[in-house]
Subunit: 398 residues, 2 copies
């Protein structure tokens, strides 16, 4: 299945993807090229198997127009490789999730093991019929928890991904599947997901803040992911929030992640459990043998003041960094997501309080700060959406 | 003098502005529209008085082509309204400064007084023949030290500009001069100046950091100024660098500007002079009755350890904020300018040291941090350049 041949076709396809089926008459009016040319482009897309007639459109008076849609066979796959998990989702042409599987994994096992596991999940989904009759994947998007050279889909010096540095991820998977593959940092994928189907749908300039094992920002400028000159834009986990703070895995001190990444939160929860300061956390630890962000939110929800304080203190640190970024970037929206963000509204309240107090008033006058609506699906939806561009959009130039 | 009629004409004009005179043969090859159409567009621009034949071009073999240039009568005016000064520069079509005047002023006197002063300077330049025979200004750009709604050229709640809030600056000056006027934040103008004629000429994504009376950032993404959703992007002067730091004019505590804006530096220098800790500063104060950033750099250059420490300490604070922004934005270049930046290389060394130590290594691997080459002219050159778009470019859409 090939890409559109020109900008007019790409525009028709984007409209059909983002808004669903549209009448032939309306589509013909969408383009500035004249009705005859527009209908010719539509016919070309039909001939190439990308669009089809999905029945009669609602009447607008006069002759009834046909309803045009992307072909129902289109399947995109979004993959979210986390530090400790793999998510694989199959979507239709509109990024509606048809099937979703998540498994525990460890990104430190390296690309061979992790990608076999991912392809295994995909195979099971294919055998379960989730890819449709042909079992065809039309394009795949993969998010990874580290910096990526987007141009050729290669992880570059990712700190928590030993063995992945310069692994030809895009080309390897593309060869295995025989379809286009696109790779990006997981936070960028989540931002794209929110822009496609979440709260950020109509916002041109916004930030997606992931608080999970790591902490990172996805930056969207004018509807497009901003990656910076070497692809590391948004890497805010190692911003120093206190000169003499705890030592971070990166070797520096006082980094935001060292205070409130998933690992830092687990560390603090464990200390509170062991020292006897928090009975609820001690109980959860005794039961599960481990503690994570979810346990802290469970304990906090049950009224444990120590767990609540951990969340509030973390929110304050995140808010401190976001306050500077809001003054600097003046976004139209901030979406908070990732595993730790699932600790919920207490965290959100603390972040809001610091940002609204500390940022330039002009920048916060009308700035919503919200939790992700897509939650755990933001990454896979964004990856599928980015994948869809490989089939439905013109290649990016420059 | 009207704008180009289409994208082809705009492209020809931009090429002539940015690269100077070009042969008719080369220009004809610049456009993807075919030679005949390109030459027709060139003729249309000639007929409208925007370009002319400037003589024969260097031979490329065969028939000698004519050299095409923007008409030499084009005059743009760049105005930089600072907190305590007004700069007015007249440039030719390529933003070469033909004349430049600076006067002390006080932005707190309000728009009527300040704009009369500015128009007075312009009149003197006109009478001195600096605008050429006709005395015509083809477009003017004005930078002001506060947030601006760029769309209609209106300052919005500028903290250090009492009386300017919502003053219709663009329309007022445009009516007085009878030419297009464009207004922006002074830091954005400086960034545009650096992009046109300074170190940033070939860098798509960079930051211009102004350290003057105030501290601010000009953000350039993909060659264009990024202003944020309410026009306040880059407002980093009030980022909190220490929770219990000095009280800032903005009412908050520990803001970057409260540590190292021009006023903070003057305050610290005065304290050092009065307490007898710095003999050179005391001497300068006795002679001038006042102290500013320039005095501190003079004292530091003369070997005064107290003055040196003030600059180093300020550089460290600026570096602290920039380190976060570099991790977040991953720029290709940072240019440091503004009055306090004229304290020079000791400041630069300190900023570099903190940024290179504290930012994500991927983002600093190849990140030059340099002093502005344009110095005090960055603002007026940028303003003239932004003004030139009002005559030579198509209106921005969206």
């Amino acid at each position: 299945m090939a890409r559109p041949e020109n900008a007019a076709q790409a525009r028709l396809l984007a409209r059909l993807r983002d808004d669903g089926p549209v009448s032939r008459a309306e589509l013909a009016e969408l383009l500035p090229v004249g009705r005859t040319r527009a209908l010719a482009e539509l016919d070309a897309l039909t001939a190439r198997g990308l669009v089809h007639q999905a029945g009669p459109a609602a009447s607008r008076g006069g002759r009834r127009s046909a309803l045009i849609a992307l072909v129902p066979e289109l399947r995109f796959v979004g993959v979210d490789i986390g530090a400790t998990s793999i998510d694989v989702a199959v979507t239709d042409a509109h990024m509606r999730v048809l099937a979703h599987e998540a498994e525990r994994s460890d990104v430190r096992n390296g690309p061979d093991a992790v990608l076999e596991q991912m392809l295994g999940i995909l195979d099971r989904l294919r055998q379960g019929g989730e890819l449709g009759e042909g079992g065809t994947v039309h394009a795949m998007g993969i998010g990874v928890p580290g910096p990526v050279r987007h141009r050729d889909g290669v992880p570059v010096a990712p700190p928590i991904m030993p063995g992945w540095d310069r692994f030809p991820l895009r080309d390897f998977v593309s060869r295995r599947l025989g379809c286009p593959v696109v790779v990006d940092n997981d936070v960028n994928m989540m931002a794209v997901g929110e822009a496609h189907a979440g709260t950020a749908k109509s916002v041109a300039d916004f930030l997606f803040i992931k608080i999970g094992t790591g902490i990172g920002a996805g930056i969207v400028v004018d509807g497009r992911v901003y990656r910076g000159v070497t692809g590391s834009a948004g890497d805010i986990g190692h911003v120093q929030v206190e000169e003499f703070g705890p030592t971070c895995a990166c070797g520096s001190t006082g980094c935001l992640e060292a205070f409130f990444g998933g690992a830092a939160l687990a560390r603090d929860a464990l200390a509170a459990a062991r020292s006897g300061r928090s009975a609820p956390l001690a109980e959860l630890f005794a039961r599960e043998g481990r503690l994570d962000a979810h346990d802290v939110s469970v304990a906090a929800a049950a009224g444990d003041p120590v767990a609540s304080a951990l969340i509030r203190e973390g929110g304050r640190r995140v808010g401190q960094v976001l306050a500077s970024l809001v003054s600097f970037f003046n976004p139209g929206l901030i979406v908070i997501g990732g595993g730790v963000a699932a600790t919920g509204h207490a965290l959100l309240a603390e972040i809001r309080s610091v940002v609204y107090r500390r940022s330039t008033p002009l920048a916060t006058g009308n700035l919503p700060i919200v939790l992700s609506e897509l939650g755990g699906l933001a990454g896979v939806v964004g990856a599928a959406r980015m994948a869809s561009d490989e089939v439905l959009a013109l290649p990016e130039t420059g």
